[in-house]
Amino acid sequence: MNELLLTAIRFGFLGLLWIFVFAVMSTLRRDLKGASASASSRRADLASNRTTRRDRAQKAQPGGIEILDGPLAGATMAFSGADIVIGRAPDCTIVLIDDYVSSKHTRLRRVDNVWFVEDLGSTNGTWVNRARITNATPLSVGMVINVGRTPVKVTA
């Protein structure tokens, strides 16, 4: 085989290998750009969500919940209409890291535009105003629900 050609192929192969590495790098870079773009659009979504929350506050309807203590302290979320299951199991809507919480502990659900909280047969119970709830209890703004050792406040 032609010596010159083989040498050319030899270096050409190394060149190709590095071109591939740089092509991958440039894909990563574009990916990074795309990610920041989608992150900013998500921020915009969140901003619009905040205004709807303010609208709801005028009517003082329960519009969301805030976790007051525990590892998730300060986390807030707005209701969207779907049920919210709170517990320790990974498939709960809100996964609490609290040894006193059962795997499926409490459910928040909406019936005819009114939000209720109900206990799902948890070991330590769901507590509202220092009383363990036995039936579905309607939510009101400012109410604090104790799930295990985690207090959850109903916000507007």
Partner: protein, 479 residues
């Protein structure tokens, strides 16, 4: 699905197709170079191998398009390129084996490169099957104990009399109906899933602390149980199967996952202490470990023909740009196509080629960690980091052994080494990464649609807790 989401999906898949094409083209150039250097013509085997690789890659790509449209576009091309380069080098070593057999008057051995291409088809098929069978990666976290037990049985299977085969002093192979297989490689995947699901469930409890020592909080003694168990099992693998690499890998992955699950700095320290104890005891008790350490400290002992020394000669012969594919003498190193494939690559592609390979590994591991960072659930975080850790640790241990940074342990070089079990296991891991990256990226690109709520604000204590909060309800858990 919104317009932006589908556009970005198409872009990702187009990028994947392009990179896949590049990877296959580089493989083709490598294979053809080998043929032209050693045979002056392109052999039929090369064409068969290349068409096999092309076909299997295309099928894997199509399955990703259908089943994981948002997935990371570079995972598959990286894996295919590594496999392709590995196949080209194995193909080159096949010629050397053939020549040696002819000189000795022995029958010509079957082509290992051809076998590797066939295993690639199996690997790509299992990758596709992983994507089809595992629709949601969160589903596989339900069986932590079953999977861990299954993994352990697989690791220990070669010890069963009549089933196991001892090759080169390590009892690693299982032989069923004439087909030998290394179950430890598949166990690697099963155990990583098992560890990740166990720690996703119980990791927090293990993080409960603590007695402070030197300002670092340490876990309660009873929380040491799981780590001690894995440590004992790793040691038993080392003692019963004489396999340094596998035992190191399992223990290392568990320690890393424990650290990620509990976020306690004390775990790596404890793990390191336990590893050092185990290593010291192993060195003191076993001759085969002592030999490895002695050859690491002085590979040129005697006539200087130890495997490590020959590998180093090969790397030195390669120099900066390498001898060129087919123009070196990598066949002089024992097991040049499996344990020492990196020395073969170093000899024929040189330092420049070796660094390119390392870059590919680095990007693959970085993408794994990136998926761990973006996936929204705790199990996904642990599984993706576990897979990245397996790849990183395995690459480090093998390449460190070949380049004499650490004592040599018998592990396969991910994707490059000749050997079906390892290749198949690595492709299943890539399949899981693709599945998780699809979940992570489709959640990021699709604006909150359908039922569910948006997390308005969450304090960023740390990554793991944030993933908890953003856990979006999907159709299944709302009902």
């Amino acid at each position: 699905m919104s317009a932006t989401a589908s556009r970005s999906r198409n872009r990702a898949r187009t990028q994947e197709a392009w990179l896949l094409g590049c990877a296959l083209f580089i493989t083709a150039v490598g294979m053809v170079t080998v043929d032209l250097t050693l045979r002056d013509t392109i052999t039929a085997l090369t064409l068969r191998i290349l068409s096999t690789l092309l076909g299997a890659s295309v099928i894997a790509h199509i399955v990703i398009r259908i089943r994981a449209a948002h997935a990371d576009p570079i995972l598959l091309p990286l894996a295919v390129l590594l496999t392709g380069i590995g196949t080209a080098v194995i193909h080159r070593l096949d010629f050397a084996d053939e020549l040696r057999a002819i000189n000795r008057g022995e029958p010509i051995p079957a082509s290992k490169a051809g076998a590797q291409a066939t295993w690639f088809v199996v690997g790509a098929a299992l990758l596709a099957l992983t994507l089809i069978a595992v629709r949601d990666h969160r589903r596989i976290q339900r069986y932590p104990w079953t999977l861990t037990l299954l993994g352990l049985l697989m690791v220990l299977a070669p010890l069963v009399p009549g089933l196991g085969r001892t090759i080169r002093g390590a009892t690693l192979w299982v032989s069923i109906a004439g087909l030998s297989f290394q179950p430890a490689e598949i166990a690697k995947v099963v155990l990583t899933v098992g560890f990740a699901s166990y720690l996703a469930r119980h990791g927090r409890a293990l993080g409960a602390l603590r007695a402070r020592f030197m300002r670092i909080p340490f876990p309660r003694p009873r929380d040491l149980g799981p780590l001690l168990t894995v440590w004992a099992l790793s040691l038993s693998v080392l003692i019963l199967q004489r396999d340094l690499g596998t035992s190191l890998l399992f223990f290392g992955v568990f320690v890393v996952l424990l650290y990620l699950a509990t976020e306690q700095r004390s775990w790596p320290l404890i793990g390191l202490a336990m590893f050092s104890t185990g290593a010291a005891v192993a060195w003191w008790m076993f001759a085969h470990v002592q030999i490895r350490v002695a050859l690491w400290l002085d590979p040129f002992v005697g006539d200087g023909t130890s495997q490590v020394a020959l590998g180093l000669y090969g790397l030195a012969n390669g120099g900066l740009f390498g001898a060129g594919l087919g123009a070196g003498y990598p066949q002089l190193v024992p097991f040049a196509e499996s344990d020492f494939i990196f020395a073969s690559i170093g000899e024929e592609l040189g330092l420049v080629g070796c660094i390119a390979i390392l870059m590919i590994y680095a990007v693959l591991v970085a993408r794994g960690l990136k998926i761990a960072n973006t996936v929204r659930d705790r199990f996904g975080l642990l599984l993706a980091s576990g897979i990245a850790t397996v790849l990183a640790l395995q690459t480090f241990v093998v390449l460190g052994g070949v380049t004499r940074l650490i004592p040599l342990t018998g592990l396969t070089t991910p994707f490059l080494s000749s050997g079906g079990s390892s290749l198949v296991a690595n492709f299943i891991m890539v399949g899981l990464l693709i599945r998780m990256s699809h979940a992570a990226r489709s959640a990021a690109t699709t604006p909150a649609a359908g039922p569910g709520f948006d997390v308005v604000s969450a304090p960023r204590h740390d990554m793991a807790q944030t993933t908890q909060v953003i856990e979006l309800p999907n159709a299944r858990n709302i009902t």
